[in-house]
Symmetry: C2
DNA sequence: ATGAAAGCGCTAACAT
DNA sequence: ATGTTAGCGCTTTCAT
């Protein structure tokens, strides 16, 4: 059943030429006569020849595969980044190997090991929420494998990176809430080891300060930012003596979770509590009221990250790595638009 | 900068033994003394040795990689299937290489070629909406590479498959609408070449017949089932002389699209028009009213598909391929619950 | 324009 | 318990 695969040797012996000629013909080498090329290609088809990229990769030292590690591929944001990456690298003949870390450090490490063993030509990663120690990334760097970080980055790592200006996104979001008349703004804040969450918190605090509103640590809620976390936070909040007038969440999911609980408890969004999320997940436009959020130009981020990788390959890792910062965009929807009163 | 990679030969020469011993030690071969093993492992660490799975794969004829092709990784359904697949195959030492076809036949073909050239040990695929001709799948089969279909399958292909009973899911959904008193039920129906959409339509029609309601072809709308398609269909529908009293869409996205337009035009869901979708995408529970839908046990589907693959590898492709059919579950939410009147 | 030969890094059958 | 040897399929330098 499982017939022997045909190799270039099979083609060669059938045509009474050598494997080298076949290899060259197949790779469109300039010094091979057109007639030979045609013949080889024809015979290859007849014999149902399938190149073994493994063997070529072993010989060449390049696999033409780039590894991508994301916390969760089902986040709209990440899948959109991946599309951007594919857009760019496919054009240069690369394939993409996607791994999910599920935001777990262990899984992230094993992903990296697997990709390194598979001899990928580069690794693009958005690291897990759990990740605080970055020594496993040094393994990538030490091996001379191009490493690009996207979305989440670490300053201690001297590698190419593309991020959005999380500080600015959070600043815009908070400023918007203040303009709507909010003064007691709760912030759902992600793990502090992740730079994007530190930055978002900084943007939130700075916007308050500029508006002469004191930063109240009681209003800053440490969170894992999942839907269920949003539920829990909202359940806590509605027991407060004095309700806040807005929530700015560092994630759309926890924002959504909070909104669900508020509605269940007949607290009107946005009139009693305005809600703003972060990421522009697709569901944010479906819900009622639409969830105001911050768009991160995900596809563009992927394209940039891929381009950084390609540049690095071209230059052979000479010049110092580039950091690209994209400007986020506030998407205003019903969840934050207070009626004038 | 990019130092030479250490190989088993480096370890061998440092320890004055041969590469074979090193190889065996690293693979925990029973006939290697514990002391040698320890020494080898220690030295491997010191030299920062990284196995080259490419070379091993070339030698062994197995890569321990399974390829997965999905139309879109950002569909909750597919990403959930992928998790199920990873769950199962990781435990058996396989890694997963994910490709997206974007529902395009061309991309699907190039995905298959890439995976085949990468010598993956098996391919699990849910084919693109565009796919009507399955000859490229025969290449996989002819090469003796295990092929498993999930979600979408083709009867002409004699391979392992795991699907849900789309007929039953659609039947339950339609029956539910009828029980709610609906009689003029519109159906958004996907491309006919895709089996799942044929089956869903069949379930819809059969449920009507059993309730002695004539199948009205004017109520069956051919659709590509994206959000925008739902918008368009709803815009058409609201111009009808007589409104339908329900919509059963073969996809959550087009159901959502329709719901958005209906709301904008002050048509009350579910009272005037009830809406039911298909797939249980995560946003269906977020929206207001919650979207009634059919759950497809996505994670379980992935686990089953992966298990079929593992079985096939074990048996060496002897026995005839297994088809697994999962039973779908109707998730009733607000969008279809008419108030009793 | 084509051939001969070596080797990428690893494993396994066959020694001893 | 360890060494020897050959080869997986491909590319590429060096010949001719």
């Amino acid at each position: 059943m499982s017939k022997k695969r045909t190799t270039i040797h099979d083609i060669a012996s059938k045509l009474n030429i050598t494997a080298s000629t076949v290899s060259r013909a197949l790779n469109d080498h300039p010094k091979i006569s057109t007639s030979t090329k045609k013949l080889v290609i024809k015979t290859a088809k007849e014999l149902n020849y399938q190149p073994n990229s493994l063997a070529a990769a072993l010989r060449n030292g390049r696999t033409n595969i780039v590894g991508v590690i994301v916390p969760q591929a089902d986040r709209n944001f990440f899948s959109s980044v991946i599309r951007g990456i594919e857009d760019v690298v496919n054009k240069s003949g690369y394939n993409v190997m996607i791994c999910q870390s599920n935001d777990s450090l262990e899984k992230e490490k094993s992903n990296i090991t697997a990709l390194l063993e598979a001899q990928v030509d580069g690794i693009l990663v958005s690291y897990a929420k759990e990740t605080t120690d970055f020594s496993h990334y040094h393994e990538i760097i030490n091996k001379g494998v191009p490493l690009i970080l996207f979305d989440r980055q670490d300053e201690s790592l001297d590698v190419g990176a593309v991020v959005i200006d999380d500080y600015l996104g959070a600043y815009k979001a908070t400023e918007h809430l203040i303009q709507q008349g909010c003064e007691r703004i709760v912030h759902f804040c992600g793990p502090e080891n992740v730079s994007i969450y530190r930055e978002r918190r900084r943007g939130y605090e700075e916007a308050l300060r500029r508006a002469n509103i004191d930063v109240d640590n009681n209003l800053i809620i440490k969170s894992n930012l999942k839907l269920e976390d949003g539920h829990q936070h909202a359940l806590d909040i509605i027991k407060w003596k004095e309700l806040p007038d807005a929530i700015f969440s560092a994630s759309d999911y926890s924002a959504m979770g909070a909104m669900e609980i508020l509605k269940e408890n007949d607290i009107v969004v946005p009139d009693q509590i305005a809600v703003v999320g972060f990421s522009n997940e697709s569901f944010t436009s479906f819900v009622d009221p639409g969830l105001t959020t911050v768009d991160q130009h995900s596809k563009k981020m992927g394209q940039h990250a891929a381009q950084l990788f390609l540049n690095q390959v071209k230059k052979g890792g000479s010049s110092s790595p580039t950091k690209t910062v994209l400007t986020p965009e506030l998407i205003i929807r019903g969840s934050s638009l207070k009626r004038k009163n």
